[in-house]
Structures are given as C-alpha cells and as structure tokens.
C-alpha cells in the first residue's frame, strides 16, 4: 500500500514545491549569487553538449529529409523543414533532454546528498527557508537557461543542416538560408518573434521549470544513504523526460491545432 501511495505523495510534493517557489520568486534578488552560480554550473558546463547534439540533430534531419525530398525533386525546400523541425520540436526537446540528464541529475544528487547528510535538517533547525535558499535559484536558473540553450541549439542545428544540404545534396547555401528565413516568417500574435521560435522558447521555459522542480523534489525527498541518492537521481531524470515528452505533445497541440 505504501509503495502505491509513494508516487502520489511524490506528485503532490512536486506541486506543493512549485507553488512554494512561485510564492518566493521575489527572493531571487537576495539569492543572486547562488543564481549566478547555478547559471554557470547548469549552463556553461553543458553548453558544449547542447551544441554538439544540436548540430548533429540538424545534420541528421537535413540528411534524412533531404534524401526523400530529392527523390521528388524538392530538395530546395530542405531549409524549410530543418528550420521548422529545429525551432518547433528538436531544439526545445533535445535541450530539455540534455538538461534533464546533465543538470537535473546533478541537482537531484546534490540535494539528495544534502538530505542524507542532515544538511537540509540543519537548514530547517536554523530557521532558514530551504525552498527560498536552495530551490528558487535553481528553478529560476533552469527557466532562464533552457530557452537560451534552445536558441543556440536551434541555430547550430540549422547551420549543421545547411552544411549537409550543401555538401551531400548540392543545395546552395544562399538558397538554404533564404528558405530558412522564409519558413520562420510567421509572426506571433503578442511577441515580435517568429511564431515557431516563440512557441519553441515557451516550451523550453516550461521544460526548464519542470526539470528543476522534479529534480529538486527528488533530491529533497531522498532518505537513507548513497542508494537513496542514486534512486533520487534516477527518478529525477526518468520523470523529467517522461513529463517533458507528455507536455511537449500538449503544448504542440495547443499552439498548432487546426
């Protein structure tokens, strides 16, 4: 029975933690040094991974779709497909997966270790609000990082796609970039950004919050010893990826439904 209730408790705790973070967002200024530290740890240190994966995905998308398009003589449209794939789906999704695996696991392990070594209890006894002290800077950092890294991922993916289009499919770079820009012309209603870019960044923003909340909650709930830290890390990455995939569908449906 306890095992059946645990996921429910865990889900409830994540919602509660999210609401507590919202209520403490004004503490960000006070925690700016921790925030900068988290931006560095969570962003700069995984930047090369995001760029490498992004450029590879852009090249694969370009190659796979280019081969099929060239069969019907439409290889000149490859820029459109790469641009839309990267900005709408691949950029936000790949960035979220990399952040869940690299930064989310690190958050869960860090807070899990603090939990099993009584550091979280020490904060509580010292009357220090651990949500404000530990969670707010991490959530804000990932909410900022995920969209920023997504833009970079989109950009390198499109560049990588262009390289493949030129070298493998014989599409002129100028034509490729013209089709990319043309594909990203649909304006958003409220924000002066192409709709596809804007929707992708909004997804990223949500993914960043989801990953950080799930990872922090998993770490804080870790009880026991090293095994508990391992379990917290595993559940943080697993649950983050599952929720990112599910939310991705619903947000795509919301933005692009007919």
């Amino acid at each position: 029975m306890k095992d059946l209730l645990r996921p429910l408790y865990s889900a409830g705790y994540r919602v509660d933690l999210f609401l507590r973070v919202i209520l403490r967002l004004h503490h960000v200024a006070k925690r700016r040094m921790f925030l900068l530290d988290q931006l560095y740890v969570g962003g700069i240190k995984v930047l090369h991974v995001v760029l490498l994966v992004g450029v590879s995905i852009g090249m694969v998308v370009s190659l796979q779709t280019g081969i099929e398009l060239s069969r019907i003589g439409q290889q000149n449209s490859i820029g459109t497909l790469v641009a839309l794939s990267m900005t709408r789906e691949m950029g936000p999704f790949i960035t979220a997966i990399v952040l869940a695996a690299a930064t989310g696991s690190s958050l869960a392990a860090e807070l899990g270790t603090m939990s099993v070594s009584e550091e979280l209890d020490a904060l509580e006894v010292l009357s220090i609000d651990r949500t404000s002290f530990l969670v707010v800077p991490r959530v804000v950092a990932l909410a900022i990082l995920c969209p920023v890294l997504t833009i970079l991922c989109d950009a390198v993916g499109i560049v990588g796609g262009g390289f493949v289009a030129r070298s493998q499919l014989g599409v002129e770079l100028s034509l490729y970039y013209d089709t990319v820009l043309e594909a990203l012309q649909t304006p958003a209603e409220l924000i002066p950004l192409p709709k596809d870019v804007y929707c992708g960044l909004l997804k990223s923003f949500v993914f960043g919050i989801v990953i950080s909340i799930i990872s922090c909650a998993a770490g804080i709930l870790a009880r026991g010893g090293a095994l508990a830290v391992g379990a917290a890390t595993r559940s943080a990455v697993r649950d983050s990826i599952i929720l990112v995939i599910i939310l991705n569908y619903f947000m795509t449906w919301f933005f692009y439904r007919q």
């Binding site: 009584e118 550091e119 209890d121 020490a122 509580e124 010292l126 009357s127 220090i128 002290f133």
Partner: protein, 248 residues
C-alpha cells in the same frame, strides 16, 4: 542557574518507523537553565528523542512540548521563531558543503538578523575562537577533519546565542584535549547564561563535567535518572554494565 520552569517536556512519547518501535512511552522533562545528559546504547533512539524537540520528527503518540508549544501542532511561524532561539549540533556537523566555514557559521545571522557584515564577521571570528578554530573562515568543509567539522558545527549552533541548545554527541571524533575543552565550554555556557540544553553522549568524562542531571534510555524509555555522581556510583547492574565499570 536552574529554575523550576519546565522548558522541554516529553509526555508518554512513542515513535515507530514502519514496524520498528524506537521510543516506547518515553517521559522526561528539562527545566530552564538545566543541562540534561541522555545516555544509552547505540541505536536506542537518543538522536530521535532530540529531533522531536526541534520538530524534525513528530511522535507516533504522546506529546513533546517546548516552552508550552506542542511541537506536533505548533504554527509554522511560531516554530520558526522558536527555532531562532535554539541551537543544534548535529552528529557530523551537517555543514553546508558548498559554503566556506565562515559562511556556514554566518548563515543564520545573515538569514535571520539585521546585523551588519562587519558585526557578522566579528561574531563568526569570536565563535571560531571559542571552539579553537581561529582563522579557518575560508576553508571548505571537505578540507576539514571530522573533529574540525564538529567544532565548526558547534560554532554555528552557538552563533545566535541560543537559549536552548541540543548537542548530539559533541565529543565524537575529537581528541581528548579538545573533547575536554568542549565539555568545559558547554559547562561555562550553562553557568554564565540561562541556557537550557540536552546533551547526548557516551562519555563519562563529558557527563561528569556538563551534566546537571543524567538519564539512561533503554528499550525506548527512561531506564534510570539521577545526578552524574548518582550514576557513577550506582550499583545497578544495567547501569554498571553500560558504564563499563567492574562489578563491586
């Protein structure tokens, strides 16, 4: 400086973790200004007892009150205010690993007081000197030995000049000289200030120096209670065995 006012009270406290019963009908009280030492075999629930008094654990049944507040039902704001007047030395120090020694000790002051940075620095230096760790402000916790971590934890527990202090094995990992100086520090504090404290220890040397009163917890309840002298000179077989004295 002990008064008759009861500050901490355990009333018929039972605590279970799953099927494991740790505390069974534990009752004890601590008066203002008193230093109570809790002794008992390893794993018997001494730290669990201490954790109830700061609200880190709730009893399965029974009641723990601190200054009249039931720790199971106390309002969050009241609990925060109450904890600001408490100090707690954890077994392994529980230092925040990514903060320096100085930042660890300054943390409760920075978070909960309006002291200026220079006042905080002075206070941190003063408490570090108290535990013979002068000049270690810039060290990181992983650079410290177990005994040093313990002493930094002690400095952090005392930095707000708390009225109620809990010491969970204050001597573990310390060499005999430092250990004795920590004992005298606890004694001095309770003699100079109206500090109420609970100390968990296995060491008779600690009991002899710090205790106003001693209890032995065994099988989840208070097995014996008395002054340090009464404990040491007791002819009770269980006590004698626990204190590792030869039988008379």
């Amino acid at each position: 400086m002990t008064s008759d006012e009861v500050v901490i009270q355990y009333e018929n406290v039972c605590k279970s973790f799953g099927t494991k019963v740790v505390l069974k009908d534990l009752s004890l009280s601590v008066k203002r200004g008193e230093t109570l030492v809790i002794m008992g075999p390893s794993g018997i629930g001494k730290s669990v007892t201490l954790r109830h008094a700061v609200g880190l654990l709730q009893p399965t049944s029974g009641r723990v009150t601190v200054e009249g507040h039931d720790m199971a039902t106390i309002e969050e704001d009241d609990l925060i205010e109450l904890r600001k007047r408490m100090g707690y030395l954890f077994q392994d120090g529980a230092l925040i690993n990514w903060l320096t020694v100085g930042e660890n000790i300054a943390l409760p002051l920075r978070e909960n007081t309006d002291l200026t940075e220079s006042e905080i620095k002075d206070r941190v230096a003063e408490k570090l000197a108290l535990v013979q760790m002068d000049g270690t402000q810039d060290l990181m916790p992983p650079e410290l030995s177990g005994g040093m971590r313990k002493r930094v934890g002690l400095a952090r527990a005392l930095v707000t000049d708390p009225e109620i202090v809990f010491f969970d094995e204050p001597n573990t990992g310390l060499d005999p000289e430092i250990s004795m100086s920590v004992n005298h520090l606890i004694r001095d504090l309770s003699e100079r200030l109206p500090i109420t404290s609970i100390v968990i220890t296995h060491l008779v040397s600690c009991v002899m120096v710090v205790a106003d009163r001693v209890v032995l917890i065994d099988q989840g309840r208070v097995f014996a209670e008395g002054t340090a002298d009464e404990f040491i000179h007791s002819k009770n077989e269980r006590l004698t065995r626990f204190l590792a004295k030869p039988y008379d």
